[in-house]
Subunit: 218 residues, 2 copies
Amino acid sequence: MKIAILGGTGSIGEGFALRWAGKHDILVCSRELDKAVSSADEYKNLLTYKGMQCCSMTGCVNENAIEGADIVVLSVPYQGVVTLLKNLYPYFKNQIVISLVVPMKKNNFFEYMPPEQGSAALEIQDILPKSVKVVSSYHNISARKLAQLDLELNYDVVVCGDDDDAKHTVMELTHEIKSLRPLDGGGLASSYMIESLTPFLINLAMRNGLSDLGVKFV
Amino acid sequence: MKIAILGGTGSIGEGFALRWAGKHDILVCSRELDKAVSSADEYKNLLTYKGMQCCSMTGCVNENAIEGADIVVLSVPYQGVVTLLKNLYPYFKNQIVISLVVPMKKNNFFEYMPPEQGSAALEIQDILPKSVKVVSSYHNISARKLAQLDLELNYDVVVCGDDDDAKHTVMELTHEIKSLRPLDGGGLASSYMIESLTPFLINLAMRNGLSDLGVKFV
């Protein structure tokens, strides 16, 4: 599949590019072409250095990548995502969009701040064409650990979405990353349950001297 | 310590009575004395059968138990807890009250339904005398597993509360149950983060053919 990673030059974007390389065509996306190309080259070099098979890994601007992609990964901060997607609207058709987006703010501690739709995922579905299938997932995977290719990721990944085929595709993609276990989180209306875990995990980590917390349901 | 377990004849109450027996004075509480005494006898017999040291385990009505207790465990459903605590108000002084209470309802799936205070724990603190120290914890421990004394409980227990000493006491009580790891969840204002996990875990279990889910932050 052709996977466009928006925010592909960021840390969590890097992890997905590296983990899905060799299995899919990866489009490392940015607003700036130079930055995208430079990150894609860096990831290819890293994979070569690790002796891993590298595939098609291309740096490109968001617009070009989205148009031909099967999957669009939204690994971008909440701030700015509405404007970003409104600008990119003409390039969306019937892709699967994976939202990692978590709206939160810090007062005394981090708190989940959902938009009026109830979650970032529902807001994103509102913005994009109806034919786009939004799936909400990967909110609680440590970027640092995801980018460490030697590391097994013994975590659970909750996947929410209203289109069963799209959800199934994302669960299969999850299985391709060693030791991640995808769990069906229900429809997109349930996305707030998993988005809201992110600030909770950050608070727990800070208060208990832990770091890069993920979650296992046991 | 003297631990009064409200809802002590229910399944989660049974687990705490059994796990803390031998270390503390356990008061198994109910509105009906006969029921309380009968459950306490049953727990004592079970501990004897298991060859475990049994201690002071007494069945009694809520009023009598609370008055002399150091700790009051609220292992009761959300429905009815406001009326229950208003009626028991005169018996509370400066106890530590551990709230396991989760307000939720089922539509298509289970959803967290916090009261206007923001969480059950904050509502309970509102009802009780200011001198009572409310600590919010143990929302996501499986009653069935807790009552199986041979089972190691390799779960995390998030503890929220505004009184540091009370929170420390509850974290120590958590350490006494084999393999549970207490984590500091911050003040009582953060309690909604852990209360809201319960409906999420129930939904995940139902959708994925799992059962008695707890949580590990890894």
